[in-house]
Amino acid sequence: MSAGTRASPLPRRVAARPHAGFAAALLHRLSGIALALFLPMHFIALGTALQGADRLESFLGLTHNGFVRTAEWGLVSALALHMVLGLRVLALEWFATAERTALIVSTCVATALAVGLLFLLGGA
């Protein structure tokens, strides 16, 4: 196809327009990283229980801090987002369901925000 002509290697010169599928993969990855970073802290919290109820209670006292509570809300939202986006990928890959990507991804994000809101309303 190159007809003997040397082509210049410029494979990334053109940026594609951002789209919903890309946003879904990005959010899935970022929420996954957030959850992975949270896990060690979660295990540390559980580990304090081995040293007695008082240690656990004093550690849980940290959760009254405003920053930690905001982070908890973010984590719950990230967990919900990671789950619904994962279900989307499973549906696509196992059932070959044709989708309106922008609508489905928007619904996933809305669901995650709703779960986060429920967490806040639940007296977190």
Partner: protein
């Protein structure tokens, strides 16, 4: 058409511009953009615009086309940031205001102006074992393949690919990992995985696995959304993921139950 995905762009306007209207066309060449002005015409395609510029304004403009009717797959380029086949793309459907921005296909090296080198694209087709493998010994008789069988329907869903490279240009994973085989090659491999006559399945499944293979797909759906033939390479790649997983489980099971030497443990 047996494609499982509906034809794209139902919401795009196809209303032609008023008589006498002009179109400003920006074409990426020589590291920058060059602007041309072309008259709007009824039912004008993007390929018509490029041809008019090349024949009447700048004969040095390089681009590629052959059939002009959506069969050969040679005229694809980036139109306003999206990969499209230009012979079947009307200006009225894609012009933004009175402007059109044309660039060579993404993810492929440029030969000149709007013509790209398709060599890497076809090399990956070969690397994915995209050719039918009849086996060492010819079959005794014709294979009977029922049109309604699941395998034949899976083949039908992906067989209409015309190698235009639109999906390859739309794919973000190719942009990140130049070794990634890409949607077209993997779609072709999936049609052959479902070909009951083919005798090269183990090698094909090994070729489409790994960092450059089907497992790298992030399910962005870009290929499926941009395919001008309304094929769904995303689903073909998902099929390959299932097939390669099954093959790996079989290998694992064979090793666990028969041992590495292939004999059952006593």
């Amino acid at each position: 058409m047996n494609a499982p995905f509906p034809a794209p762009s139902p919401t795009e306007s196809t209303v032609d511009a008023a008589p006498g209207a002009m179109l400003t066309v920006r074409i990426r060449r020589d590291g920058g953009f060059q602007a041309f002005t072309v008259a709007r015409r009824p039912a004008q395609t993007v390929l018509d615009v490029v041809t008019e510029i090349q024949r009447e304004q700048d004969p040095t403009l390089a681009y590629r086309f052959a059939c002009r009717v959506g069969m050969c797959g040679s005229c694809a380029m980036m139109v306003n940031g999206r990969p499209r086949w230009t012979c079947r793309t009307r200006v009225a459907a894609v012009a933004e205001g009175d402007g059109l921005t044309l660039e060579p296909l993404r993810n492929l090296p440029v030969v000149k102006d709007l013509a790209v080198d398709m060599e890497p694209f076809f090399a990956k087709w070969t690397a994915a074992h995209g050719a039918f493998e009849p086996g060492a010994v010819p079959a005794d008789d014709f294979a009977v393949v029922a049109p309604e069988s699941p395998e034949r329907r899976a083949v039908d869903a992906g067989i209409e690919c015309i190698n235009c490279g639109v999906c390859y240009a739309a794919c973000d994973v190719v942009a990140w990992n130049p070794d990634y085989l890409g949607p077209a090659a993997l779609n072709r491999a999936w049609t052959l995985v479902n070909d009951v006559r083919d005798r090269g399945q183990d090698a094909r499944l090994a070729a489409v696995s790994g960092d450059a293979g089907c497992q790298s797909c992030h399910t962005h759906m870009s290929c499926t959304e941009h395919c001008p033939k309304a094929l769904a390479p995303t689903f073909a790649i998902a099929g390959l993921k299932r097939a390669t997983a099954r093959a790996a489980l079989k290998r694992f099971g064979a090793q666990a139950f028969r041992g590495p030497s292939g004999r059952r443990p006593s």
